[in-house]
Assembly symmetry: none
Homo-oligomer: 412 residues x 2
C-alpha cells in the first residue's frame, strides 16, 4: 500500500510553518507497512485542494489530508472532498452532539458557525475527534481511500492513533517497513556513495540511500518484509556489509550524534573528560552535556576567548602564544594538557582556530583550526581547514573534535 499526504493551509505554503504533520504521518504510516511516496501542500483554495487530491488518487492507494476542517470560511477541505467524491455534504449527528457537548461543558453556547464542523461528505465514515471540534472522516474515491484530519497537531495525532491507525492495520496487508540509520563522519558523501554504489540499486531491499546533514553522512536503510523478524534480519545483514565497507567512519546506528558515542566510550572506561575551547565557544561542551547522565564523566570546560584567559585558565605560557600565535599547534597542545591537568581528568580536547568572518590572514586563513586530544596514551594535535560561514566552521570543528576523541577512545 502506498500513500500520499496532502496538507491544506496558507500557513504551510507561505512558509509560516514547516510541515511537521506530514513528516510525523510518514513515520507512523511506515510503521504500519504503508510507504508514503509523496507529500503535497496547498493553500486554502478550493480548486487547488480538489486538484491535489484527485490527481493523487491516480498514483496512490491512500491519501491523508490534514487541515482545512476549522469553522471559518477559509476552511475548505470538507467541501473539496465532497466535490472530489461528487457527493453532497451531510450533517453527522454524532459529530454535532460531540461539538455541542464541548461547548456546553465550558458553559458556552455553540456558535452557529461551528455546526459546519459536523458536516461530512455523504457516504463518508466519521473519524471522531476527542480533542477538539473538527470532525474527521474517511471516504473512498475510485480505488483510493482518503482520510481527512484536522491540522492541529495534537488533534490530528490523537485521531490517527485512536481511530485511523487501527483501521489501516486491517486494510494495509501484512508487510512491515523498517528504517535504520547508519551514521558516519569524516568521509565525503561522494566517497560513501562510491563505496556503497553496488548496494544502492533502486529496487534493492533494503533500499539504501545517503543523506548529508551538517557534515554527518547518514546511510539510510529502508526494508520491506512480511514480518518484523525478517525485516530485522535483512537490515542486520546489510548493516554488516556497510560497516565493513565504511570502517571506522561509522560512528553508530540510530544514534543522535557523535557526542552520544563519546559519552558511552568514556563511561565504559570509567574515564572523565575536560574541554578547552576557543573558536567553537562552548559548542563541544554544549553537545557533550546534551547527553543525559554525562555528569558522571564530564568535569569541566573552559572557553578561553582572550589570550590572557588561555594563560590564566589553562596555564598556556604567554611566550608560547607570542611565538606561535594563539591559533597554532603548540597552543592547542598546551590548552589540552592545561585543562587536563587542572581538571584532573583522564582525557581532554582543545580547539583553537579562526571562525571568521574576519581575523584571517594569508598564513592563517579563516577556517584554520587546530585540535588537540589528550588520553592516557599521550597528546595528538591535528590541523584542519574548514570551509563555509562562521557557524559552519564552528560546527564542523566541534564535530571533528568529538570524532577525533571517539577514534582515540576506540583504540585505547
Amino acid at each position: 500500500m502506498i500513500a500520499s499526504i496532502v496538507s491544506v493551509g496558507n500557513e504551510v505554503v507561505i512558509g509560516q510553518i514547516a510541515d511537521t504533520n506530514a513528516a510525523w504521518l510518514s513515520q507512523e504510516l511506515a510503521g504500519l507497512g504503508i510507504e508514503v511516496v509523496e507529500h503535497a501542500a496547498v493553500g486554502d483554495d478550493m480548486s487547488r485542494i480538489v486538484c491535489a487530491v484527485k490527481s493523487a488518487t491516480n498514483r496512490v492507494d491512500l491519501i491523508i489530508v490534514t487541515g482545512g476542517l476549522g469553522p471559518t470560511p477559509d476552511d475548505l477541505t470538507r467541501q473539496a472532498m465532497a466535490d472530489a467524491a461528487k457527493q453532497d455534504l451531510v450533517l453527522d449527528q454524532e459529530a454535532l452532539e460531540h461539538i455541542s457537548l464541548i461547548f456546553s461543558s465550558r458553559h458556552l453556547e455553540m456558535p452557529e458557525r461551528n455546526r459546519v464542523q459536523a458536516m461530512i461528505p455523504k457516504g463518508a465514515v466519521l473519524i471522531p475527534n476527542n480533542r477538539g471540534t473538527a470532525a474527521g472522516f474517511r471516504i473512498q474515491i475510485g480505488k483510493c481511500e482518503i482520510a481527512a484530519l484536522p491540522g492541529v497537531p495534537h488533534e490530528m495525532k490523537g485521531m490517527f492513533e485512536d481511530e485511523l491507525a487501527p483501521y489501516l492495520r486491517t486494510v494495509s496487508g501484512d508487510s512491515v517497513v523498517m528504517i535504520r540509520s547508519i551514521r558516519t563522519f569524516g568521509v565525503p558523501e561522494s566517497l560513501v556513495g562510491q563505496k556503497l554504489e553496488h548496494l544502492m540499486g533502486l529496487s534493492d531491499n533494503p533500499l539504501v540511500g545517503t543523506l548529508a546533514q551538517d557534515g554527518v553522512i547518514t546511510v539510510k536503510l529502508t526494508v520491506r518484509a512480511p514480518d518484523r523478524k525478517t525485516a530485522v534480519e535483512l537490515l542486520d545483514i546489510r548493516e554488516c556489509e556497510i560497516r565493513s565497507l565504511l570502517g571506522d567512519a561509522v560512528f553508530g546506528t540510530d544514534v543522535p550524534g557523535l557526542e552520544y558515542v563519546v559519552a558511552e566510550l568514556l563511561e565504559r572506561r570509567n574515564w572523565t573528560a575536560a574541554l578547552a575551547e576557543s573558536c567553537t565557544g562552548g559548542m563541544v561542551a554544549s553537545r557533550l552535556t546534551s547527553v543525559p547522565g554525562i555528569s558522571r564523566c564530564f568535569v569541566e570546560s573552559v572557553v578561553t576567548y582572550s589570550n590572557e584567559s588561555k594563560s590564566r585558565r589553562l596555564d598556556v605560557p604567554p611566550d608560547l602564544i607570542e611565538k606561535h600565535g594563539a591559533v597554532s599547534s603548540p597552543v592547542a597542545e598546551a590548552m589540552a594538557v592545561g585543562v587536563r591537568d587542572r581538571a584532573g581528568s583522564d582525557v581532554s580536547i582543545a580547539l583553537t582556530g579562526i571562525a571568521g568572518p574576519t581575523g584571517g590572514t594569508t598564513d592563517k586563513p579563516v577556517g584554520l583550526v587546530y585540535i588537540a586530544t589528550v588520553t592516557p596514551d599521550g597528546v595528538e594535535v591535528s590541523e584542519h581547514r574548514f570551509r563555509g560561514e562562521r557557524n559552519i566552521i564552528r560546527d564542523r570543528a566541534a564535530k571533528t573534535a568529538l570524532n577525533l576523541l571517539r577514534l582515540r577512545l576506540m583504540k585505547e
Copy 2:
C-alpha cells in the same frame, strides 16, 4: 507570478526530516512578490519527480526544485529535469572546474562520482554553488521557469540569495511583498495573541500572525504594496503599534536571536562579559560566540559541571555548596561574581540547575534553574522552573539568561 516548490528526497517523504527548505523558500519568494501556491515532496524516484514537476508546469509560472543533486546514484533531479525538458545532460565546464578546485584545495583527488554534479540539462543556465559541489541550474519548460537547487540548506539558501533572487527580481511583476519579524521572549504565545487580536484580521494589510519556535514568539508581518516605500511605511506603522503593546518582551526586529541583541548592547557600552555555566553546559557561550566580532566583548566562559570545578574555577566556597547545594541561589551568585572577578569583565552570567532526566528531588525538581547576572549595578539572582525534556530545559534556561542580561543592559 505564482510558484510551486518541489522537494526531492526519500528523507522528506518518509518523514525523517520536516521540509524546512520549502518554508524558507516560500518566505523568500513572498519577499520578491512571488506567491507560492503549492509544495510537493517526492522520494528519489525518477517517474515521480518528473510527474510532480511536469504537472506543476501547468499550474504555476515558477517551480523551484530542491534536493537530488548529490553525487550518488539515488540523486535523480538532474536526469529528471532533463527528461521533463526533453533534453540531454551535458557537462558544464565551469561547474566541473569549481568541483575540482574544492577537492584540490583540500589536497584530495576528485572522485569520479562527483563529475556527475557538473552535469546540467542542455539549454539550462548554470546556478553556481560557492558552498559545495552540487551545481544548480535553471531551465524553461513551456512557459514555466524551473530552478534546481541542492537540498543542503546552507548551499540552497546561498545559491538562492546570490544567484536566483537577483534573477527573479528582474522577471517578477511590480507589486512587492515584504515580511518583517518582530521577535519576543518571555511572554506566552496566547498572551501575545490576546494583546494583538484586533490587528490579526485575515484581510488586514499587513497581515499579522504569530509563530512560536523554541520559546521565542515571533510576530510576523506580511505586507503587500505597489512599491517598496509604501510597504516599508505600512510595516513601520504596524510595528510601532505592536511594540507599544508588547513592551520590552520585544527583543528585536529581523534579528536572528537574543545573543545578537546582547552582543550589540555590550559593544555599545564597550563592556566585556564572562560566563559560568552548569546545567546549560556551554550553551550560553556557544550562542553568544556565534555572533561575528564577539571577541571584542567576550572574555571567557567556564562550564563547571562538578562541585570541585565550581570551587577551583570560580572560587565558590565549598561550604556554600555544602550548605545550600550546588543548585541554589547563593551558589549561582557566587559563580557569577567568581567568574566576573577572575575574568576581570564588566558583566557576567551564571546558571546552575537540574536539566534532568534524573537528579531531581521533591525540593529541587528537574527544571529548577537559578540564574545570576552581574553588572556594575550589582548582582541579581532569580529562580526559574522550566518544563520539558533535558534539552528543552537547557535551551530555555540559556535563552532566559541572555534575556535577563539584555533587560539589565537596557536599563544601564
